[in-house]
């Protein structure tokens, strides 16, 4: 069993990436913060099952990603609505809004791939672990995701 202090030392530095992943997957800062907290709760509960086959960050990100997919599958669609700008810190810049709009229109798989690769700059191996797919498939699906995103971006004159 991993001690709480060791767990915190290993997991907390990747909180920014977890939050980033959740926010980009869901398009809502408030929901992302909630899910990031759930991620850490779940990671703490399951810390005994961490075998060290991947980095702690990858392991935590995979938990966050699974929670994001669960959230996306929920019937409510409110998560794609931009939150009110009550907090100036959370207020996204125009470029981020545009890219979020683009991500929201992608399939969950393409969205995940592009966020993990372009947003978080993870390696194919890390992406493979998070999405539970072989590394060679990551390249194939990433190519499809980029084509899908490029079509939307061209149509909307985002690039």
């Amino acid at each position: 069993m991993v001690a709480q202090s060791d767990f915190e030392r290993a997991c907390l530095p990747c909180y920014g990436r977890v939050l980033h992943l959740c926010q980009r997957m869901l398009g809502s800062r408030a929901l992302a913060e909630e899910l990031a907290q759930d991620t850490y709760l779940k990671a703490f509960e399951k810390r005994a099952s961490f075998r060290g086959e991947s980095s702690v960050a990858t392991w935590v990100l995979s938990i966050a990603h699974r929670l994001c997919l669960d959230q996306i599958r929920k019937p409510t669609r409110e998560l794609l609505v931009q939150e009110p700008r009550e907090n100036p810190v959370a207020c996204p810049e125009p470029a981020r809004l545009e890219s979020q709009e683009l991500l929201n229109r992608l399939s969950p798989r393409s969205r995940s791939l592009l966020i993990l690769r372009a947003g978080l700059e993870l390696s194919y191996a890390e992406i493979g672990r998070i999405l539970e797919m072989p590394v060679n498939q990551v390249g194939v699906y990433l190519q499809r995701a980029r084509k899908e995103a490029l079509e939307i971006a061209r149509a909307e004159k985002m690039l």
Partner: protein, 136 residues
């Protein structure tokens, strides 16, 4: 050599394969597509990398010097009050006369008045006289 549609430009863009390198060097279409992919990545990456950290409570503002001095003085005052016993008022001697009897009583502070009230209760106000005899 593979044609444009057979190549996976993502692998080349991400440095996972150099298979497309030769083709891209001579294909303006693929060069343009690569450039678009780079722009797409930049758009998704956003204005800055995620540099957020675990939310911590905001650091407390440093205590100002004058406030520190005031706190030190307050602590010293409290300590002094607790450790040093308060100075007792100087005793007063009163001569109490009742009939043929005369007593000298020594009282301090408010207790003089209280004692007078006690004596008056016992003996009756009319018959008691008081005379201050001076202090120590």
């Amino acid at each position: 050599m593979k044609n444009c549609h057979e190549l996976n430009l993502s692998l080349y863009l991400d440095g996972e394969s150099t298979e497309a390198a030769e083709h891209v060097a001579h294909c303006p279409h693929c060069q343009a597509e690569l450039e678009e992919m780079r722009a797409l990545d930049r758009l998704i990456r956003g204005p800055g990398p995620p540099t957020l950290s675990w939310p911590r409570p905001a650091p407390r503002a440093p205590i100002k010097l004058w406030l520190r001095a005031a706190l030190v003085l307050l602590c010293l005052g409290t300590l002094t009050h607790l450790l040093v016993p308060p100075a007792l008022p100087k005793p007063e001697r009163h001569q109490v006369s009742h009939g043929h009897h005369s007593y000298t009583i020594e009282v301090r502070g408010e207790s003089a008045q209280l004692l007078q009230m006690d004596i008056e209760d016992e003996l009756g106000t009319q018959k008691v006289t008081y005379a201050r005899k001076g202090t120590n």
